[in-house]
């Protein structure tokens, strides 16, 4: 476990921008200054769509197949720019400063058009592109229409989670090199295999001519699972010039033109009996897709709507899922990717219902928590949640806070992206056990639990094991590290691969010993297939105070999550705290905002609301351990805090201020106390 940490604390990590190669070119992009414009003329550029005429392939987390050709993100803009920051033309030089100068010498003539900014306006506006039938690129209903009982109580709310930049501290980046036949790509990523698949599709190149290697990856949070226009241009240029090409994103580019997450509006009605038993849900969810496909904007609304039963028994539901075109960068997955939105919507409705009934919100949750596992009318299986909730109330000590503090409570269900399974390869040679996996860690320290598992399965000590970075030449296939899946399917692939190695040795030598393992040459590739989506339960409790200036102080932030078997408690704690800070950020400060012309108002990582250490409390996590059915017995870790914390914090602020909180982030002025006469 120490190996990687020791390198990193000495500054010896190898991140993508650390790569130097002889003759390397630096790539830069001239980007659209308008949210929506016709491009009339481009001059002074070294590369434009005339030469680099490719579209982005949709790969990675939340990728959907097919889709309209019209909506595909061109690698370099053709005659139309759909958002501020869209790459229009490329320049390059062997000096990074000169490359930057060259960007300024590109002249682009535009004919600006009235931008479509507000997702709720989009449907009633003219079509964004000629040929597009509707600005709603997804419009589907889930569940069955129903007639609510006339005596039912109704809570109707509009709730908004505005756009957030993923903001890993290491921006995006890529280095590409070409030897005349094979393209090698070093990239900061969650999935080397997704990048390879995407490049092959975008560049129309045979997959076996592309090798993608993951380098140390400085955080990702959903962003780095996909393919980006800049990567395709870097590869194209490497092949054209037969020189290595590097592109490193600036933070400003990140804020403009990477794929931000959230960006969802819900207008929902929750129906309930007078005793608080919920009877149905109706309404719609609108996702702000941005100007092109390629992110997860087509997947998101469907995924959100299917989860809207929360952890409750919901007998009736009929909800419309919409994704609409806007003049913004394509929406993409951000830690939780649809899960935080769905739970926010249902949980804030539950709090509203509790207030209306003058019931304790936790009491209301107990009344509605699923007493049996069932399939919700919206599509997903809801696991039996009542026993978990009862233990969460105890473990989080809710009674201690109730009535004394401004306390918010969230019950959540985390759907793990276990479907699709994952791959692992174990290769033993020269006394070294090397492991490759399809999901590529970017701060989750897969190396730690892989070593633990190999020690259990093969008795091999951790100093003999080396956990390798993603490399498509060393591993036939792979999915990626996202959706709280790695502790479940990646670990299981490693376990099964280890068992197969053990079998190989037993077959050949009669019995398994560690000596036989290390003395021999063994190699096994395993694709662990899994076609189910697993889930786990979690709860959060947050207390907060708000001062006379509307400043929020988060006091206690407690988590209680079902992690099944906890593979690496230290890392689980670290991920919990990291996710909780992101959850607080979503409520208090994190937003990518735009003016009415679609011009971004955010220009720095601090404006974007990423919180520093002085603004957050200490975090506490307790583990609930009900084992999963997978070989690893673990459940997902990464996304629970970004789901639960915003809900519980919003409620705590609501109690502190007496103001209803239905949007994230909360505008600070909204929290200012009303002037008393």
């Amino acid at each position: 476990m120490v190996e990687l940490s020791e390198k990193l604390v000495k500054g010896e990590g190898r991140f993508v921008d650390d790569i130097q190669m002889p003759g390397m070119l630096y790539l830069g992009f001239a980007r659209s200054q308008y949210a929506r414009a016709r491009i009339l003329r481009i001059s002074g550029a070294q590369l434009t769509h005339k030469e680099v005429n490719f579209d982005i392939a949709e790969v990675g987390e939340g990728a959907t197949e097919g889709g309209s050709e019209l909506l595909k993100h061109p690698v370099l803009a053709k005659d139309y720019a759909g958002y501020v920051g869209q790459p229009v033309a490329a320049v390059y030089s062997d000096d990074r400063y000169v490359a930057e100068d060259l960007i300024d010498s590109v002249d682009i003539e535009y004919e600006p058009m009235k931008a479509i900014v507000d997702p709720e306006d989009s449907i009633s506006r003219e079509e964004m592109y000629p040929g597009v039938k509707s600005n709603a690129i997804v419009d589907r209903y889930f569940g069955d229409d129903f007639t609510p009982d006339s005596t039912d109580i109704v809570i109707e709310r509009k709730m908004v989670n505005r756009r957030i930049a993923t903001n890993p501290i290491e921006p995006r980046g890529v280095v590409a090199a070409y030897d005349g036949n094979k393209l090698t790509v070093w990239v900061s990523t969650q999935s080397a295999h997704a990048i390879k698949e995407g490049l092959s599709e975008a560049l129309k190149m045979e997959p076996d001519r592309i090798r993608v290697v993951q380098v140390d990856t400085g955080g990702a949070f959903g962003l780095k699972g996909g393919l980006f226009p800049e990567y395709v241009v870097a590869c194209y240029l490497a092949m054209k010039e037969k020189r290595p090409v590097k592109w490193i994103e600036t933070r400003r580019e990140h804020l403009l033109a990477s794929r931000p997450g959230r960006g969802a509006v819900a207008k929902l009605k929750l129906f309930a009996k007078k005793d608080g038993t919920i009877t149905g849900l109706k309404g719609e969810v609108i996702v702000d897709n941005g100007a092109f496909t390629g992110g997860s904007g087509e997947f998101s609304p469907i995924f959100i709507v299917k989860q809207l039963a929360g952890a409750y028994h919901l007998p009736n539901a009929y909800v419309r899922a919409l994704s609409v075109l806007t003049n913004k960068a394509p929406q993409g997955p951000y830690r939780g990717a649809g899960r935080p939105e769905a739970m926010y919507f249902i949980e804030r409705l539950m709090d509203g219902l509790a207030d209306k009934l003058k019931m304790d919100p936790v009491e209301l949750r107990l009344r509605n928590a699923a007493t049996e596992t069932y399939t919700s009318p919206l599509g997903f299986q809801v696991e039996k949640s009542r026993p978990f909730l009862e233990s969460a109330i105890r473990e989080l000590n809710y009674e201690k806070y109730k009535g004394k503090e401004n306390v918010g409570f969230a019950l959540l269900i985390l759907y793990h992206a276990t479907f699709g399974g994952e791959s692992a390869r174990i290769k033993v040679e020269d006394g070294k056990v090397r492991v490759w996996t399809g999901g590529n860690a970017h701060g989750q320290r897969h190396d730690v639990f892989i070593k633990t598992l190999l020690n259990e399965e093969l008795g091999v000590s951790e100093d003999h094991v080396e956990v390798m970075k993603g490399d498509t030449d060393m591993l036939a296939e792979g999915v990626g590290a996202w959706g709280s899946r790695s502790s479940m399917v990646l670990s299981s692939a490693v376990i099964v691969a280890a068992r197969k190695i053990r079998e190989q040795i037993e077959k050949k030598q009669g019995k398994y010993t560690v000596q036989a393992l290390l003395a021999g040459k063994w190699d096994h590739y395993e694709y662990f297939n899994y076609d189910r989506m697993e889930s786990s339960l979690g709860a959060n409790l947050v207390t907060a105070d708000v001062d006379d200036y509307g400043r929020v102080k988060v006091k206690d932030c407690l988590s209680y999550y079902d992690l099944g078997r906890v593979l690496d408690p230290d890392n689980a704690r670290g991920q919990n705290a990291g996710g909780a800070v992101q959850g607080i950020g979503q409520v208090l400060s994190e937003e990518l905002s735009f003016d009415e012309d679609g011009l971004p108002l955010i220009t720095s990582i601090s404006d974007a609301g990423v919180l520093s250490a002085d603004l957050v409390p200490r975090f506490d996590i307790k583990f609930h351990k009900s084992e999963s059915p997978l070989p690893s017995k673990a459940k997902g870790v990464g996304e629970a805090p970004t789901i639960g914390v915003p809900i519980a914090l919003s409620r705590a602020i609501e109690l502190a201020t007496g103001k209803t909180i239905l949007e994230t982030p909360i505008k600070p002025e909204y929290l200012l106390p009303v002037e008393k006469e």
Partner: protein
């Protein structure tokens, strides 16, 4: 072509001379010319602190200083903390022991800011640590483990002292 300027900077105890463009940032000089890629770049607005180094005893953001401004000065980078020694520097060791990192990208800056703090103050409190690292953003850890690392480093520094031979003269940030 701009006129290049001659500079001489003592980096981690070694004098490095070079001809650089006046506009070159110290961060790029350290990374691209001195080959010290442990100094990271995470933003373009002096907000993230990934690029923090110690210059003449002060923790500074090397993305905001020109290489020519560092001329004649002493710079300590992450590589300098354990340079020439088998063992990690106590602050580095504490970050390993207390899981003060996940992806490791903010880590060099966090460690150098913490080192600067600990040279300034004994028995640091949690609040002082939070305040001191408030110019260093971490998107992974939620800061708890970083704070525990710094507390642990504070103890280690008390017990073991600072192994860096040429002690930079630490000054309080203005």
């Amino acid at each position: 072509m701009v006129n290049k300027k001659h500079i001489s900077i003592t980096i981690n105890g070694e004098v490095k001379e070079a001809e650089v463009e006046p506009r070159m940032l110290l961060a790029h000089f350290l990374r691209d010319q001195a080959g010290l890629t442990g100094t990271h770049i995470g933003c373009d607005t002096t907000n993230c602190g990934a690029c923090t180094v110690i210059m003449d005893g002060k923790a500074v953001k090397s993305c905001t200083i020109l290489a020519v401004q560092a001329n004649g000065r002493k710079v300590l980078t992450i590589e300098g903390l354990s340079k020439g020694r088998e063992k990690l520097h106590p602050v580095q060791q504490s970050f390993v022991d207390k899981h003060g990192l996940q992806c490791g990208y903010c880590t060099s800056g966090m460690i150098l800011t913490s080192y600067w703090l600990l040279k300034n103050k004994k028995n640091v409190t949690e609040e002082e640590i939070r305040e001191a690292i408030s110019g260093n953003l971490c998107r992974c850890t939620g800061y708890d483990n970083i704070i525990d690392s710094v507390k642990d480093a504070s103890k280690k520094m008390e017990e073991e002292g600072d192994p860096i031979e040429e002690q930079p003269e630490i000054k309080v940030r203005a």
